[in-house]
C-alpha cells in the first residue's frame, strides 16, 4: 500500500518548472524591459576604456609602429603592441596560430595591431588615430582555389586541413546503368549577427592576477588562452560570464579578452572595452564561404549508389575551428541518406580573407545546401517526386553512414520528412501588397509573382567529435532547503538557466533554486556552449548532481526515521511517505547541507582514420523544412511565404524554448538563403554594419509551422533529449533555395540568392509568371 495519502498527491505543485513544461525564462522579463545587464553594461567607477587599432589592409608588412604621439595625449594610460605581451604571443582555439597583436605581418583586414587604454572613449578614438603604423601592403592571397599552390602566408602553411573520406566500394559507380547528376555549389560568408557586440571588463587583482567579466561561449578555454598569453598560471586569471547578447559560434574564439587583461595589468586599473557594430564584424569569425562540387549516382529506380564531392572551404587568415568545421562538412556531406559508396574530399585553406570559424550548423550548413540541391536534381533526372526519393534513401537507426559509423541511437528521418511534407499548408495568396516580394517597396502586382515549394532534410552530429571528448562539471548543494547549482555553462540565450530550474524541479521537487554565476573560479569546465551540446552535457551534469543530492537526502531521512528509502518521495519541498504521516520540509532536513559534484562525460568517440572512417560522433539529429516562396522573377525579389518544419528532438524539455530555437534557427537559415552575406572584395569587408549586412525582418520571416517534434528518446542522453539548436539552421536554407528554383526554373547554385541571380539570368529555362499560371 502506498504511504502517500491522496490528499498529498492531489496537492497541486507549481506547474511550470518540471521537465516538459514551458517554464518561463528567469531572465526573460529583464531582457524585454531593458533591466538585464549585458556585457556592454559592465561598469566600474575607476575604469578606463580600451580600444583596438586594426589593420586597414588584407595583407601587409609592418615596417614600424610609432606609439609616441598616442602616448603623449592627455588621458591616455597605455598604448600596447606585440612587444608588451608577457606570455605566448599567439592564441587560437585549436592551436595558437593567431598573433594577439600583429608583429611583422598583418593577414586580414581588421587584424589587431595596437591596443589602447584611456580615460574616455573619445580619448581612445583620438589616440587610435594618433598611432603611426607604417605598412607596406603586399599582394593578398584571396582566392581559396589558389591557396594550396600559393606561397605560404603563414608558418603553418595554407592548408589547414584536408580530409579524404572514402567509403564502401570505390568502383560502385562503374556500372553503366546508373543515373548521375553533377553540380557545383557555393555558399557565401554568413555572419552570426548577434545583437550584443563583443564587450568585457578586466579588473586587476593587485597581486599580478586579473578578473575578466566577458560575454563568451566557453569560459575555461578562454581562461587557458588568456593565461598563456599573459604568462600567468591559469588560476590567477579568473573569468566570469557577463550577460551574453547572442553568440551562434561567434564567441567561441577569443576577441578582446587578452587585450583587456593586458591593458588592465599594464595600467593597474579596471578596463572596459566594447566593440562598435562595425568593429564587431572584424572582431569575430564568420561562417566559412564554400565551393562544393558534387556528383550523385543512383540506380534508375532511385537507390543512391555513390556520392562524390570536393568541398573547398575558405578559412581566412587563421585556423580558429576550421579543422573541425571541415570534418563536419565532410562527414555529413551526403546528408541523412543511405550511401553505400562515397569519395568526399574536404579541404579548408588559409587566405587573407576574414577568418572563419564556428557558426550554428558548423560545416553541415554548407554541405546540406549542396546535397539537398543534388537530391532535387537527381529527382528531376529520375522523374521522381523529390520527397519520395528522399524517403526511399532515408537513413534509419541501425544504418551505417559514410564514415562507417553505425547509428545506434534514434534517427527518425522518414518521420520528420513525412510529417513535414504532409503538413497542410496554410499559405494564402499574395493578396496583401506588403506581403509580396519586395514588401514595403510595393514593387510587385499579383500578376508578376510565381510560387514555388520545396522540401529539404538536414543532418548533423550532436556534441564534439573525433575523440575530443570534453566533459561538464556541475555542483548541487541543498542547504536549508535552498538548492544552489554551480556550473560554468555559458548561457548565451539558449535557455540553460531555465533548464536548470526545470531539472531541479523535476529531480528535487522544489522551486527554491539559485544558479551561481558561471565562472572559472568556482567549478571545472562545462565545455563550450556550441555543437548543440549543453543540454546534454551540462544539463546531464546538473541532473546527475541533483540525483546524487536526492539520494543522500532520502538516505538521511530513511536513516533518521528508520524507514526504507524506497518508501519515500519528494513532493513540493517536502519528503512524503513517512508512516507517521509527518512531512518534513527540505529546509528542516538540510540544516546540515548536502552536496554533490559531478563530472559528466558522454560516450567516447574515436578519431577519423586516413579514409575518414571511424566512430567519430556521439549522436545525430535530423530535421526537415518545407518552404513556400513567392518570387518576382523580373526583379529577382523573394518573399518566403511559409516555412514548415519537423524535427528530431529526442524529447521536448520545454516546448516554448524548443519553439524559440526552431524559429530563430529557421530565421537564420532564411537569411542565408536570400540576403545574409558578408561581402568581401579584395579582402575588404564592404558591408560591416546592419545597414548593409541584412538580416530578416518580420516581413521576411514567415510564420513557422511546426508539423511535428518527433520524440524518440535518445539512449544515453539526459531525459532522452537531443540538442535542438543547430538543426533548424541547416535544412531551412536549402528548402528556401529549392523553392526559389521550383518557382523560377533556374539552377541557382549559390546562396544567398541575389536579385541579379534571378532577374539577370538568361531567360532560357526560366518560368515566366504567365507560364506558371
Amino acid at each position: 500500500m502506498s504511504m502517500v495519502d491522496t490528499a498529498t498527491v492531489q496537492r497541486t505543485e507549481t506547474p511550470t518548472t518540471r521537465i516538459g513544461d514551458s517554464a518561463a525564462r528567469p531572465d526573460g522579463i529583464p531582457k524585454v524591459t531593458g533591466d538585464f545587464v549585458f556585457s556592454s553594461d559592465l561598469w566600474h567607477d575607476q575604469m578606463l576604456w580600451g580600444g583596438t587599432l586594426r589593420s586597414p589592409h588584407a595583407s601587409a608588412r609592418i615596417r614600424q609602429i610609432n606609439i609616441g604621439p598616442a602616448l603623449a595625449l592627455p588621458g591616455v594610460h597605455a598604448v600596447l603592441t606585440h612587444e608588451d605581451i608577457p606570455g605566448s604571443p599567439d592564441f587560437g582555439l585549436d592551436r595558437p596560430d593567431q598573433p594577439v597583436l600583429a608583429r611583422d605581418i598583418v593577414r586580414y583586414e581588421g587584424e589587431p595591431v595596437v591596443v589602447i587604454a584611456a580615460d574616455h572613449p573619445d580619448t581612445v578614438r583620438r589616440a587610435l588615430a594618433a598611432v603611426e603604423v607604417d605598412y607596406e601592403p603586399t599582394k593578398p592571397l584571396l582566392d581559396p582555389t589558389l591557396a594550396e599552390d600559393a606561397p605560404p602566408i603563414h608558418p603553418d602553411g595554407n592548408v589547414i586541413r584536408r580530409i579524404h573520406l572514402r567509403h564502401g566500394d570505390q568502383e560502385a559507380a562503374s556500372r553503366s546503368d546508373l543515373v548521375s547528376v553533377e553540380g557545383t555549389y557555393e555558399v557565401g560568408m554568413q555572419d552570426q549577427a548577434f545583437m550584443g557586440p563583443e564587450s568585457g571588463l578586466a579588473i586587476p587583482d593587485g597581486e599580478g592576477g586579473v578578473d575578466l567579466a566577458v560575454a563568451t561561449q566557453w569560459l575555461h578555454t578562454d581562461r587557458d588562452q588568456v593565461a598563456a598569453c599573459l604568462g600567468l598560471p591559469a588560476e590567477r586569471v579568473r573569468l566570469t560570464l557577463a550577460g551574453v547578447g547572442g553568440a551562434f559560434g561567434a564567441r567561441e574564439d577569443i576577441s578582446l579578452h587578452i587585450h583587456l587583461c593586458l591593458l588592465a595589468l599594464h595600467t593597474g586599473r579596471p578596463v572596459k572595452m566594447c566593440y562598435s557594430r562595425d568593429e564587431s564584424f572584424y572582431g569575430h569569425v564568420h561562417r566559412h564561404p564554400a565551393r562544393m562540387w558534387y556528383r550523385h549516382y543512383a540506380t534508375s529506380t532511385g537507390d543512391l549508389v555513390r556520392v562524390e564531392a570536393r568541398l573547398l572551404f575558405d578559412g581566412g587568415a587563421y585556423a580558429s575551428s576550421s579543422h573541425h568545421v571541415i570534418a563536419n562538412a565532410t562527414c555529413f556531406a551526403a546528408g541523412p541518406y543511405r550511401v553505400p559508396s562515397a569519395d568526399i574530399e574536404g579541404v579548408v585553406v588559409r587566405t587573407d580573407n576574414p577568418p572563419c570559424g564556428a557558426m550554428r550548423g558548423f560545416g553541415a550548413v554548407q554541405s546540406c545546401f549542396a546535397h539537398e540541391a543534388q537530391m532535387d536534381r537527381l529527382a528531376a533526372a529520375l522523374k521522381m517526386d523529390p520527397v519520395a526519393l528522399r524517403r526511399q534513401n532515408a537513413l534509419a537507426s541501425g544504418d551505417v553512414i559514410i564514415t562507417g559509423q553505425r547509428i545506434t541511437g534514434t534517427l527518425p528521418v522518414v518521420e520528420v520528412l513525412d510529417a513535414c511534407a504532409a503538413h497542410p499548408s496554410a499559405a494564402g495568396g499574395p493578396n496583401e501588397p506588403m506581403s509580396r516580394p519586395g514588401g514595403a517597396g510595393r514593387t510587385a502586382d499579383v500578376e508578376h509573382i510565381v510560387r514555388g515549394e520545396a522540401v529539404a532534410l538536414g543532418f548533423k552530429n550532436l556534441m564534439f567529435s573525433e575523440g575530443f571528448d570534453d566533459s561538464s562539471e556541475a555542483r548541487c548543494v541543498m542547504h536549508s532547503g535552498l538548492v544552489t547549482v554551480t556550473t560554468a555553462c555559458a548561457e548565451v540565450g539558449q535557455g540553460f538557466v531555465t533548464l536548470v530550474r526545470q531539472i531541479v524541479g523535476e529531480v528535487l521537487r522544489t522551486e527554491e533554486v539559485v544558479l551561481e554565476p558561471a565562472s572559472t573560479n568556482s567549478i571545472g569546465s562545462a565545455g563550450s556552449t556550441s555543437a548543440s551540446r549543453q543540454t546534454w552535457m551540462s544539463g546531464g551534469a546538473v541532473q546527475l548532481a541533483c540525483e546524487a543530492v536526492r539520494r543522500d537526502l532520502l538516505a538521511r531521512v530513511a536513516d533518521q526515521y528508520g524507514v526504507l528509502v524506497d518508501d519515500l518521495a519528494l513532493l513540493d519541498g517536502r519528503v512524503v511517505g513517512l508512516p507517521n504521516g509527518e512531512e518534513p520540509t527540505l529546509a528542516s532536513l538540510t540544516v546540515e547541507p548536502i552536496e554533490a559534484t559531478i563530472v559528466h562525460q558522454h560516450a567516447p568517440t574515436l578519431p577519423l582514420d586516413d579514409c575518414g572512417q571511424g566512430d567519430a560522433h556521439v549522436s545525430f539529429a535530423v530535421s526537415a523544412h518545407r518552404a513556400i516562396v513567392d518570387v518576382d522573377p523580373d526583379l529577382g525579389l523573394v518573399k518566403v511565404v511559409e516555412l514548415t518544419t519537423a524535427q528530431d528532438v529526442g524529447r521536448i524539455l520545454n516546448p516554448l524554448q524548443a519553439l524559440g530555437q526552431l524559429e530563430g534557427g529557421a530565421a537564420q537559415g532564411v537569411g542565408l538563403a536570400v540576403m545574409e552575406e558578408v561581402k568581401v572584395v579584395d579582402g575588404l569587408i564592404r558591408n560591416p554594419s546592419f545597414t548593409d549586412y541584412l538580416i530578416p525582418t518580420a516581413l521576411d520571416m514567415p510564420p513557422l509551422e511546426v508539423a511535428a517534434l518527433i520524440e524518440q528518446p535518445e539512449p544515453g542522453a539526459p531525459f532522452g533529449a537531443k540538442g535542438i539548436g543547430e538543426a533548424p539552421t541547416i535544412s531551412s536554407t536549402p528548402a528556401v533555395a529549392g523553392a526559389i528554383r521550383a518557382a523560377t526554373g533556374l539552377d541557382l547554385p549559390r546562396v544567398p540568392v541575389r536579385p541579379d541571380d534571378i532577374a539577370l539570368a538568361s531567360r532560357e529555362g526560366r518560368v515566366s509568371p504567365e507560364e506558371a499560371r
Binding site: 519586395g438 517597396g441 510595393r442 514593387t443 525579389l637 518573399k639 548593409d692 525582418t697 536579385p755 539577370l760
Partner: protein
C-alpha cells in the same frame, strides 16, 4: 545645446554658433556621431519647433501644399496628406522601421541628400521647392538646385530648411522601391511617377541610380504625347516598353555592395513599366 522652439530662435542660435549641428530626428546625425565621423561640439535641436511641423494648403485653390521640414515620415503616411501627395506617403512608408519613421523628418532626409534618400525622387518628380531660412532671410530653391551631389546640398552655414512646397496634382502617383529585404532596406533603385491630368503630363524621377535624383525627361515626353489622360485606354505594351527603356536610359547607376549597375538599370526599367501600368490601368481596371 540649444533646443529651439521657433524658427527665429533656431536661426539666431545658428548664427551665434556657426559650427553647431542641426539636430532633427537624429536618425542620420546620431549614427554619424556614434561612428565618430561627425565631430559634435554644439547642437541646435529643431525637433520642437511647432511651425516646422505639419502642412497647409496655399494658393487660390489650395493647389500648393506646404509641408514643414520637421514633419516626420510617420506623419507623412497619415491619410489626409497621403491623399494629397500619395507618392510621398508611399515613399515615407518605406523609410526604415516604425521607430525610425516616428523620428525621421522630411527636412533631415533632404539635408542628408543621400542618393538613396527615399523622399527625394518624389520631390524631384513633383518639382518641389525648398524653403530655407536664416537670419539673413528666406531663400527658395527648386529641388534640383538644392541637392547638388552625393550627400551634398546647397545649404549655407546658418541656414535651416523650414518647408517644402509641392503641387497638389489631379492624377495618380506611384512610388516603387527595390531593395534586397522586404522592409527596412536602403533602396537599390527607386522610382516616383506622378501624373498631372490637367496639364497632361507625367513626371518620373529615379533614386539610387545616380549621385542625385534624376528625371527621365525623354520618357516623360514620349508618354505625354501618347497617353490617354482620361484613363479610358491603357497604354499598349509597346508604349510601356519604350517608356521603360527610356527611363532606364536616364539612370547612371554604379556597382556597389548593394547592387550592380546592370541590375539597377534593369530594375528601374521593370518598375517604370509597372508604375505606368498602375497609373493608367484603363477603364476596366480599378486602381489599387
Amino acid at each position: 545645446m540649444t533646443i529651439a522652439t521657433s524658427i527665429d530662435d533656431a536661426c539666431a542660435a545658428m548664427k551665434a554658433k556657426p559650427d553647431a549641428l542641426v539636430l532633427a530626428g537624429g536618425t542620420d546625425l546620431m549614427v554619424e556621431v556614434n561612428r565618430g565621423i561627425r565631430p559634435i561640439n554644439d547642437v541646435v535641436a529643431v525637433g520642437r519647433i511647432p511651425e516646422m511641423r505639419g502642412w497647409s494648403r496655399e494658393g487660390a485653390r489650395g493647389e500648393v501644399l506646404r509641408i514643414g521640414a520637421g514633419t516626420t515620415c510617420a506623419d507623412l503616411t497619415e491619410p489626409t496628406i497621403a491623399s494629397l501627395v500619395p507618392a510621398l506617403a508611399q515613399a515615407a512608408r518605406t523609410v526604415g522601421s516604425p521607430q525610425i519613421r516616428n523620428s525621421a523628418t522630411l527636412g533631415g532626409n533632404l539635408a542628408t541628400a543621400s542618393p538613396a534618400g527615399d523622399t527625394l525622387p518624389v520631390l524631384a518628380a513633383l518639382e518641389a521647392e525648398i524653403e530655407l531660412r536664416s537670419v539673413e532671410g528666406i531663400r527658395r530653391l527648386p529641388l534640383d538646385e538644392f541637392v547638388v551631389g552625393v550627400k551634398d546640398n546647397a545649404l549655407v552655414p546658418g541656414e535651416l530648411i523650414v518647408a517644402v512646397r509641392v503641387p497638389v496634382l489631379d492624377g495618380p502617383q506611384e512610388f516603387l522601391k527595390v531593395g534586397t529585404r522586404n522592409a527596412m532596406v536602403i533602396a537599390v533603385a527607386s522610382l516616383a511617377l506622378v501624373v498631372d491630368r490637367f496639364g497632361k503630363t507625367v513626371r518620373v524621377a529615379l533614386g539610387s541610380v545616380a549621385p542625385i535624383p534624376v528625371r527621365a525627361i525623354e520618357a516623360e515626353v514620349l508618354v505625354a504625347e501618347r497617353l490617354d489622360f482620361d484613363g479610358e485606354v491603357p497604354p499598349d505594351s509597346d508604349l510601356v516598353d519604350q517608356f521603360a527603356g527610356l527611363v532606364a536610359d536616364a539612370a547612371r547607376p554604379i556597382d556597389d555592395h548593394r547592387g550592380t549597375a546592370a541590375y539597377r538599370r534593369h530594375a528601374v526599367m521593370v518598375i517604370a513599366g509597372r508604375a505606368l501600368r498602375r497609373a493608367f490601368p484603363g477603364s476596366s481596371k480599378v486602381v489599387e
